[in-house]
């Protein structure tokens, strides 16, 4: 492990140890926060009991659906808009203000459109995540050097083959940045939506535990989500580093 990596781990361990000490000595009340060691034990117990397995499956499935649709949709929309400069010029100012829109305010509308199932939550995850992919895809496609596009014409590639075999592979590191944001926004969107109206899922169970002062369950589920998101992001980060290592001159 690098020196920076060791320092990072030490800082993290120091913060957890401080929190543990503050909780154990009663400086932080157990109504506010339970000790990190208790959170870990609770998480293991809860996962082993299978009590929330159905909720975990639902949430992860909905997040995966939001991620997948946002990735595919975002790349498709980004590529399409890149190929339609006039349309892009009209829409681009709207993209800049996209994240100022409180997507959750549209939840009632989404229920009317998609019904009471999982779709409204997936839709919110998708709506939050898709724009990051669209913007980063267009950003990457803008950077494809003109000489590569000439090379594509020399190789007699049609517009679709050029997009698939030349533009997107070149833009991949930028698209990947969009994917990383997409994963984070999808978790935020789906779990946030579960807080509001859902009757199942991790978000719903966290809200339920909160309303019932059940800190062991609440913090265990929060910790579980943190662990999953960290694991997913670290995997993406490692993949991205491998991707970039090939390209760095």
């Amino acid at each position: 492990m690098s020196r920076v990596g060791r320092i990072r781990v030490l800082v993290l361990l120091g913060a957890v140890a401080t929190l543990e000490a503050l909780c154990r000595t009663g400086v932080i009340s157990s109504f506010t926060l339970i000790a990190p060691s208790t959170i870990v034990v609770s998480t293991v117990e809860i996962l082993a009991s299978g009590r929330f397995t159905a909720d975990i499956v639902v949430t992860l499935r909905n997040v995966a659906a939001a991620i997948l649709t946002a990735m595919i949709g975002g790349v498709a929309i980004g590529t399409l808009l890149h190929g339609l400069p006039a349309t892009r010029r009209v829409l681009e100012p709207l993209f800049a203000t996209y994240y100022a829109i409180p997507v959750y305010a549209f939840y009632p509308l989404l229920i009317v459109v998609f019904g009471l199932g999982d779709l409204p939550q997936i839709a919110i995850g998708f709506l939050l995540a898709v724009m990051a992919v669209v913007i980063n895809t267009m950003n990457g496609l803008d950077r494809v050097p003109a000489v590569l596009l000439k090379a594509a014409r020399v190789q007699r590639l049609g517009p679709l083959a050029t997009a698939w075999s030349m533009r997107l592979p070149y833009a991949a590191p930028y698209v990947f940045t969009g994917f990383k944001l997409c994963v984070a926004y999808s978790f935020v969107g789906v779990i946030g939506a579960e807080f509001i109206t859902s009757s199942r899922g991790i978000g719903y169970e966290i809200a339920f535990a909160y309303n019932n002062f059940d800190n062991r369950v609440m913090y265990a589920l929060i910790f579980f989500i943190l662990a999953v998101v960290t694991l997913v992001n670290m995997s993406l980060y490692a993949w991205e580093r491998r991707l970039l290592a090939r390209r760095q001159r």
Partner: protein, 269 residues
């Protein structure tokens, strides 16, 4: 030239129309040119005279504003004809693919089978001295090596006409001479017609059968000089007395035009 023209240009002109407050720009022509099959033709000219525009018109990457361009008797109408390969000055290697896949790119897109792709790419790797680097990515290679990859990618498609747009422009003098030798070897083996755009008079004089000297913009051929070199030649000819006389003649033709393109009055300075 007894053989029929492989590439034929008649009155080829390129004019960029006025746009966004900029006036109309007459970049090139009218140009007449006949390239015989298997000929090595170099084009030199002052900066901005339209050399690269000429190459793009022949490659089918741009359409002429007036005139006619044909390759093997068929009109070039702003589409890259079958059998034409282009090597650009800028690094056109694909950074996401290793050397093998870079070279195989065009073959695979043309629907080549795995065995055929492997054998042709292996040959190109061997020919360009890239065999040991088949698994390397362009980022791990020097500028000269990346340009070899681009030449190999062109070579593997067995083009009958190879267009080279200042392919060694970014390389140091020694590497350029060595790459020149490799280019001559490639030309002899493939028997392709080659058109080389260059700003280096010595490169043109060393490599080509004929050198077309272009005027300042709008580019036209001031003269076409035959070098008289035998087909079997290499970079050692730069030390011959004939080579000095040839580059001197090219420079005499080009000097006034170069000064004109730099905004000086001809003959001054």
């Amino acid at each position: 030239m007894a053989s029929p023209a492989h590439v034929l240009l008649r009155g080829v002109t390129r004019i960029y129309p006025a746009r966004a407050g900029r006036p109309e720009l007459h970049a090139l022509g009218p140009i007449d040119l006949d390239l015989a099959e298997g000929e090595f033709f170099a084009v030199v000219g002052p900066s901005g005279c339209g050399k690269s525009t000429l190459l793009e018109l022949i490659a089918g990457l741009a359409a002429p504003s007036a005139g006619e361009a044909t390759f093997e008797g068929r009109a070039i109408n702003g589409r890259v004809p079958d059998g034409v390969g282009v090597v650009f000055q800028e690094d056109a290697s694909f950074p996401w693919l290793n050397v093998f896949d870079n070279i195989a790119f065009g073959l695979r897109h043309a629907g080549g089978g795995a065995t055929e792709v492997r054998s042709r790419v292996d040959y190109a790797l061997e020919f360009m001295g890239l065999k040991e680097f088949a698994g390397a990515y362009p980022a791990q290679l020097s500028g000269g090596m990346r340009q070899r990859v681009c030449i190999a990618r062109t070579l593997v498609l067995k083009p009958r006409l190879i267009l080279l747009d200042e392919p060694f422009g970014a390389l140091d003098q020694q590497t350029r001479l060595l790459m020149g030798d490799e280019l001559l070897r490639l030309w002899r083996e493939t028997r392709a017609t080659i058109l080389l755009i260059t700003h280096a008079l010595d490169e043109a004089a060393m490599l080509a059968d004929r050198v077309g000297v272009m005027s300042a913009r709008p580019g036209r051929f001031l003269d076409v000089v035959s070098t008289g070199w035998p087909r079997e030649r290499d970079s050692r000819i730069v030390s011959s007395s004939a080579f000095g006389g040839l580059t001197s003649r090219l420079w005499t033709l080009l000097r006034a035009e170069s000064l004109r393109s730099l905004g000086h009055a001809a003959g001054q300075g």
